[in-house]
Symmetry: D3
Subunit: 282 residues, 6 copies
Amino acid sequence: MWNRHVETFLGCDSEYAAADIVLLGAAFDATTSYRPGTRFASRVMRAESYGLETYSPYLDRDLSELAVFDAGDPELPFGEPAHALALLEEKIKTILADEKLPVMLGGEHLVTLAAVRAVTARYPDLHIIHLDAHADLRDDYLGAKLSHACVLRRCWDLLGDGRIFQFGIRSGDQSEFIWGAQHVWTHRFDLDGLQEKLEQLCGMPLYFTLDLDVLDPSVFPGTGTPEPGGISFQELLAGVHALRGHRIVGCDICELSPPYDPSGISTAAADKILRELLLTIG
Amino acid sequence: MWNRHVETFLGCDSEYAAADIVLLGAAFDATTSYRPGTRFASRVMRAESYGLETYSPYLDRDLSELAVFDAGDPELPFGEPAHALALLEEKIKTILADEKLPVMLGGEHLVTLAAVRAVTARYPDLHIIHLDAHADLRDDYLGAKLSHACVLRRCWDLLGDGRIFQFGIRSGDQSEFIWGAQHVWTHRFDLDGLQEKLEQLCGMPLYFTLDLDVLDPSVFPGTGTPEPGGISFQELLAGVHALRGHRIVGCDICELSPPYDPSGISTAAADKILRELLLTIG
Amino acid sequence: MWNRHVETFLGCDSEYAAADIVLLGAAFDATTSYRPGTRFASRVMRAESYGLETYSPYLDRDLSELAVFDAGDPELPFGEPAHALALLEEKIKTILADEKLPVMLGGEHLVTLAAVRAVTARYPDLHIIHLDAHADLRDDYLGAKLSHACVLRRCWDLLGDGRIFQFGIRSGDQSEFIWGAQHVWTHRFDLDGLQEKLEQLCGMPLYFTLDLDVLDPSVFPGTGTPEPGGISFQELLAGVHALRGHRIVGCDICELSPPYDPSGISTAAADKILRELLLTIG
Amino acid sequence: MWNRHVETFLGCDSEYAAADIVLLGAAFDATTSYRPGTRFASRVMRAESYGLETYSPYLDRDLSELAVFDAGDPELPFGEPAHALALLEEKIKTILADEKLPVMLGGEHLVTLAAVRAVTARYPDLHIIHLDAHADLRDDYLGAKLSHACVLRRCWDLLGDGRIFQFGIRSGDQSEFIWGAQHVWTHRFDLDGLQEKLEQLCGMPLYFTLDLDVLDPSVFPGTGTPEPGGISFQELLAGVHALRGHRIVGCDICELSPPYDPSGISTAAADKILRELLLTIG
Amino acid sequence: MWNRHVETFLGCDSEYAAADIVLLGAAFDATTSYRPGTRFASRVMRAESYGLETYSPYLDRDLSELAVFDAGDPELPFGEPAHALALLEEKIKTILADEKLPVMLGGEHLVTLAAVRAVTARYPDLHIIHLDAHADLRDDYLGAKLSHACVLRRCWDLLGDGRIFQFGIRSGDQSEFIWGAQHVWTHRFDLDGLQEKLEQLCGMPLYFTLDLDVLDPSVFPGTGTPEPGGISFQELLAGVHALRGHRIVGCDICELSPPYDPSGISTAAADKILRELLLTIG
Amino acid sequence: MWNRHVETFLGCDSEYAAADIVLLGAAFDATTSYRPGTRFASRVMRAESYGLETYSPYLDRDLSELAVFDAGDPELPFGEPAHALALLEEKIKTILADEKLPVMLGGEHLVTLAAVRAVTARYPDLHIIHLDAHADLRDDYLGAKLSHACVLRRCWDLLGDGRIFQFGIRSGDQSEFIWGAQHVWTHRFDLDGLQEKLEQLCGMPLYFTLDLDVLDPSVFPGTGTPEPGGISFQELLAGVHALRGHRIVGCDICELSPPYDPSGISTAAADKILRELLLTIG
């Protein structure tokens, strides 16, 4: 009758040992330059998942068919990004070492660097599928190398040319676009061509990083830097479903900032995308 | 110069005796399982209708051409759903007995059961057109038979197979979809085929129940259970206009929860849909 | 390294068997007549307790000195208040049978009835200390006997005259005040005399029920029925501390409605009062 | 069974002919210089009065003992303050001619001028009791003579020296305080001395104008220009009760701006003060 | 090291003398009939432009390539619309006399009249491109000729038939549509045909007035009168880009009301549209 | 007629060279552990100061009598607290070298360390007057030495025992209170004794650091860690006025987080306290 009060993401009630997938919250937003609040995302996503069904009529699958463990949110030192990333990297390395698939819930986009470091160590031929409104390719932001605005550039430092594939990009400074044209593959404004690109990469180990601000702000207002002119929920859903059958070795969902959306529709969108992502890769 | 202060829905200032249509508020949300607040919908819809015109450029008709009486909101006992439904059913039976068309403003979706009971008593060959994000076909919810999550199942108890036609459904548990496949007609995700279905049912007495969460949360954030991936306002508008010329014997608009939308766009959407519905069926 | 993600109220991480005090969430607000939302209180109180220290400089005690188990929130059927109360009553009876002190987190004030039923069964000479803005002494509300507006009247049905002591009352209909003058002891507007009353009851088994709307709405805006002219936080703190040394056999904190307070100060007040209450009775 | 849907302030359901008191909404805020929104005050005060009891435990009186007619809100042209004031003045003159007591619900404070014009025409020896955070004694605001910041100065134009008595004033420009020291009676920061002043004015016809921002912003955040350091609700309550037995010939309550208070406590305060004012003067 | 703190719209840091374009805030909303707040638009647009890049990936241009001076917001008397319009008109005449292009940031739509008066004086053969949800063609509103609901009618008073071209109109009273059919060119619901119309007007001096409520409320909830069923951000973007190469002699962006959008996505949309407009016409 | 658009705190429009006091925004909140948002404080304080008068009826002084320069907010790297502090320290050293009094507007409380470093370098016998709800005396927070929770401890590292005087403290962990009892002077819960302490320190160079959360959350809800049971606005006002005649060589106001207070009363309180502080020390 009495267990300690446990709050996990919807239906993710497996024990660690039995789990195939591990959810890890990365409640960190210390380098966010504009509007903070993504530190609350993982917690609110769990709480609000109560409003969602475990069953997907899109995929005709149910979360009860999967074994997912929700590891909660490790406490991270906000004033020390390098230290925080190291703590996350170590967690994800353990998950990988235990032959489980890590799914990280940001937090700001910088946390992706921790996961990519861990995953690259195991899969040196890693490729990144990156859905975002922003290119995130600056070399530094006000002198800082560890910043949400530089995260894909830092990933490039690890992986080099030809490994990063961006979709939906509609914002950046001019130098990012110029640099990006030479070093990463970028499709602007929408997800057209994602399926083809995935087929080209078939069999390759893929890291999937989803900055939810790729969605239009009407669908997803609760984010740090809303960028009008994004994609619809249905387009993103198709993009996530396109991962089916591919070799996803790590992934994350970032940049939900619940305080900026009193209606809660952004959290509902993030939760539903997470359910569909789990049912696609699980 | 001095009448008592009256606040009705925009332009619905007919006397009861002269009215062809009667608006009835069903300010009830006691079985709402997730986020409450639909109890305030009818009141806020009246107040905010001030921002709307009486004229529709879509239909080239004006509410001043209709005779609509706004009956306000009867007080309902929140802890006693069965009693509340009985009170609403009696009101609607009177409206029908007086040869007027009832248009109910929820409230949570459970109130539809009161109307369907009243309308079925008068039109035993009733068919239901149901627009919704959720199937609402559970047999019970935490043991309760009278729940917003079961309302179409309760209507099926009255009407049986082949009488309920659902559109836009994108959420439910697996068992609802399995049961529904055998007992009701369901079109998922959008309103495609609504016009054809209406033509097939031509001449039949129809009850039209609109759970506004069929709309995408970007258009309609103010609802209890926002479900991403819904239809656009223009799609819903076309769906409502498709009712023209059909034999609507009762209808309702449900699940607006104003407290969850500080911008007021959800109420604006509900009000405009109500205007178009009145101009379509009136 | 990996436990299932556990979210409890600040520092209440004892196992059940070892606990002296058990927190139980009563996430129920189905009879709330005005503004709902107390269903979210226990969950939000846990999440926001992160902003609070475990140490009280008022009492020079720390929550780490206590053994408190947080039992979470049992799921309750919203449309069936009698059934929901029975489920809660059973839980509290078990806690009492296991020689632990139950502390219930409402929810609407009606849930107090479940606790008082359980506690009275064990302590027939129970007395109630009731802090509230509202008398809650109606015999029914729109015909319903089980309503937040009737909860102390239902307790009186169990206990009879001379057992209920109200403080801070500043709202009610005229008949409640007339009836109350004959059957319960009421001090209006503030907590003056609470200490004396407790001394008179010294040694008696006491149930302490705190409707947080006894606080002034400036201090506690997030509640269903804000009633201006209430007491300050410091006055309530002194009232809670006055329980020290008395024989509290059960207690609850009710009527926090987080959605009505975007600033979160109401939850902060509820959390701090809960900490002080635990440190006083523990 | 069917009357047109009527929404009035709590319990103010008398017919005009039978009424002793007439409520009149002045939904106007066109000259508000800082944060607008008082145009919604009267409407929201009516709607939210549902959360209030008709009985006052402070006065042991009930609104059912009074005959109050709620005249609603006349539509006013926002871009034409002079015209709007003339429309209001005419309404109030009619109320006075019919031997009823006008109680106006602002709106911004400028509307007081309409009422004072009407009342002065009938009671040339009128005196004004003015509770406010702001002196409102400028001769013009950006060149405009009809402005909320000038309203008491415009009243002085009508009444001259020695007729205006201000309490609670804690803001103004230096020239207002210098001018005011010579022409009106001002008590700063609180209501001390109000009772004595009323006794000195005993028998005189009094207009009572209450700018609710005299309250501290913690109690009353929903106003156009929140001014920290104000009085408590209990102090204002005592101030209103002090009117008992005096010759109030007109009054108003102004400057509630509901959009700036999502918690609703400001409206609750305004409603309770209005109830107490009606029970004091009725 | 030390300049006075300057806050301008993103990248608009030219000196006046060197500027080709001048931004002028028109912080005025005194005739707004429904929900006010556009007075805050220009200030909030400047502050939130921090979240936007200066570079447009749509046009491959950067604001640093333009010379834009931000003139701030002149103080305007709210109770005196005629006077406020005269002050704005004078400012814009000076900008034009100095051979610079004025871009006005409303405020309510009435401020367009000030600009059109100034621009017409210089370009008598002016034509107006008008994007809006509302026709704004009433002859008066509650008797007032100077009202946001009449602004295009007042422009017509200056320009006469055949000079005003409206797109996106989806609301108005019946008489506006009847009158409009004879005097202005109106395309309902979307921007279809805008490009063709611009080509027909090639070489003509054009005033471009953008009421942002032409956007769907999902994209742009922060406005006074949200009108469901509007265009998407991408459609508006294409409409703005279509101005390229045409002879724009003045323009404005109106009707952003930040208080009604706590998420800030409306301001983000307005800012991005302003950036694209500047990069298109500059 | 045309200056670049300048937005400063109310009336602080002196040139740098002529100024006696310099306002400096410290828009930094990267180490905030709970609710972020103080990065927006200085900007919002400037914008909302429009609602305040320059004249103080408390002190009978006007800001026009002072020469204050508003230096705006230097851009700070969020992920690098040490670097950000160094940038602020350099700015404040320049202000001091130019014989001007620095008044810093936080931001989170950590920024105080930058100012204290600069001021201590010039005034080695500096003493600190610290008003706060929280002791801020931890040696580290999750391993970080530079954290808002450690700021007074870091100041103690510079100044040693007997130099720090805290008032209003009502929260901390047990070890902070134990450590603090030996190294700093702490008065809990209110400001009693502040005047006496100031008299004892008469003639000493004083740094005044005001964490606004010393106010009760009812008065000041918009802060990162609201702590119920604080002081009233009038008490804080008296505390600030008590500085008059003392030797203030630097000061700051911290921890306003505007996003958590949609009513704006917290910003109004901060602005009024800043006005009174300037008029007291200027």
